[in-house]
Symmetry: C2
Subunit: 343 residues, 2 copies
């Protein structure tokens, strides 16, 4: 037997196909008894409707896609959970999809819109510098969540966005270090061609130094190389090891992600040094792991739950045409813990 179809069920129940369809989709115009009878046989024979056929036919699927950039990006997992709740709450379905670092998220989105008849899209993470005409093909409302630096040339009316002020928050962190006596502060940052959060966080660093009349020392700027896994433990470790072997003086390492900061800590420990006695370390993100690390990580916490909630809200506001696209910037929070100290 080939897989069962709606026809088979219809025959078995002695009803028409459309009646079965109505039973499946909870349509109003159906006798509760026949509906129950049909559902019973469906369950009995384990019939499963073919989603491809449904998507093909359906006009609107009441589903919204979340495209996450980077598979091992644990930073987003709590956001995703919140989003799913919000989406389900509104009787929509969430379609979660991962996008590799080298994949083009807009291309993926374009495909998905066709395949799944999406009502909307949430882009989570990534860089997002896309041509305007490509974005225009996306005839579906979308919101950029925790994605920095969208191209200024693209009219901001075409989408919503949620983020923190990466430059300002980065500034705050570095400024805190400076206020606590640090002058030679190394930064583990994104590769030079980064056009997104990496760039912004580096700018914040430079700005803080500048305003405190500290000269930027290029020796202390450690960008990730393209061959490294981006924002990873290992990259933080490698960059810091390299840094330590330079013998350039510094008292603090500021990493633009918590994972890199943890990598940095390990590199410092491996050289027989202590944190925060010998070096202070600061991160960015406010991940759970940062709180559990030992020493616990001084970092910038992004209010991920709130941001996730707001992301869904913004999208649904646009969907229900209650509102036009908006851009919300959330305040982050300086979390001072054990890994950094006053000197």
């Amino acid at each position: 037997m080939g897989e069962m179809t709606i026809k088979d069920i219809a025959k078995m129940c002695g009803v028409g196909i459309s009646t079965v369809s109505r039973a499946i989709n909870n349509h109003p115009d159906i006798n509760p008894e026949t509906k129950e009878m049909i559902n019973a046989t469906i369950k009995e024979y384990g019939y499963i409707p073919n989603n491809s056929a449904r998507n093909l036919k359906r006009t609107e699927a009441k589903s919204i896609a979340v495209l996450v950039k980077g598979i091992s990006n644990i930073f987003f997992s709590s956001m995703i959970k919140v989003m799913e709740e919000e989406i389900k709450k509104r009787k929509y379905t969430m379609v979660l999809h991962h996008v590799e670092f080298n994949e083009d998220e807009v291309d993926v989105a374009l495909q998905l819109v066709k395949e799944k008849r999406l009502a909307g899209i949430i882009f989570l993470g990534g860089y997002f510098h896309h041509s305007e005409d490509k974005l225009k093909k996306l005839h579906v409302p979308f919101v950029l969540s925790t994605i920095g630096c969208p191209p200024e040339n693209f009219s901001k009316k075409g989408y919503s966005s949620i983020s923190v002020d990466d430059e300002q928050e980065s500034y705050n962190m570095v400024n805190w270090l400076i206020q606590n006596g640090h002058k030679n502060i190394a930064i583990l940052c994104a590769s030079p061609d980064d056009e997104s959060i990496g760039k912004l966080r580096l700018e914040g660093y430079k700005k803080a130094l500048l305003e405190n009349k500290i000269e930027v020392n290029l020796e202390l700027i450690m960008p990730m190389r393209p061959d490294m896994e981006q924002y990873s433990l290992q990259s933080g470790y490698d960059l810091t090891t390299q840094l330590l072997e330079k013998n350039t003086e510094f008292t603090a390492v500021y990493a633009i992600s918590d994972m890199m900061a943890i990598g940095a800590c390990k590199a410092i420990f491996d050289k027989g040094k202590k944190i925060p006695e010998d070096y202070s370390v600061a991160g960015f993100d406010g991940t759970e792991m940062g709180a559990f690390y030992h020493p616990s990580l001084t970092t910038v916490r992004q209010p991920v739950e709130d941001m996730a909630k707001a992301t869904a809200q913004l999208l649904f506001e646009v969907l229900s045409e209650k509102s036009v696209h908006k851009h919300r910037i959330f305040p982050a929070e300086l979390v001072i813990r054990e890994s950094a100290k006053k000197i």
Copy 2:
């Protein structure tokens, strides 16, 4: 305009639909020139074929699905990468899909098979105690990867599996602790109704105690409660905090996952104690984070890359009918690091 279809492209190019189809799918019977011309216009107008329609028509899609249990399960991310390589290498497409802890992975699989015309399935993680008749509906070869304790009543010829010997490896870890002078060893384990790796790892613990003539102290067995996020940092932290407040004596904590072990460490630090001076801590999995933690984690390393590779291999062997289903058990490795010491 409604979205573009293959018809539109055909009209624009002045050719028939099937010619366009041939161009898209790299069929042999087509003039290279027309093919190029068609591809050019496809690119120009940004036409994207509708996947639902394709899947509906296609008999076999040369795609295999990977179903991952638990979204934040970073343990699997490196495995997934390897699998993707292996799958692509064989000109198949990987469809990655997450399954919530409360979802039924077989139901999801059943759906996906219909929707995507899968050639095969890989189940990653989870518990996997499913009724035989449900499994029988899965008319597609599948392999269970790092999933413990499949129901003995299901003929092992219906699927392949890859795993470590959870009980034995767990035994080894606990035995190592005992050999190093620990007698009162607490365990952070799965909830009592767990039928899978959690159970096996607990069995290994008990067996090690028994063989060393140490009585099992129920006070030292700390199962996760159902309301906890399973195998998480927080659960490890909570259980250990509770344990410490009991004032039952112990010198070592063995957690059945690295994340829980890290949570345990934090709980110990928060009580002002030291690792490994006051308490030894051991984990299970061999995650990257365990190596980066401070102190670095003594743990059981599963050879995830090899296992991932073998998973794909086994599946493809069955697909190409070169082989029947097999069950491979990989040796894990005791990784002795800083978090545990001899007393």
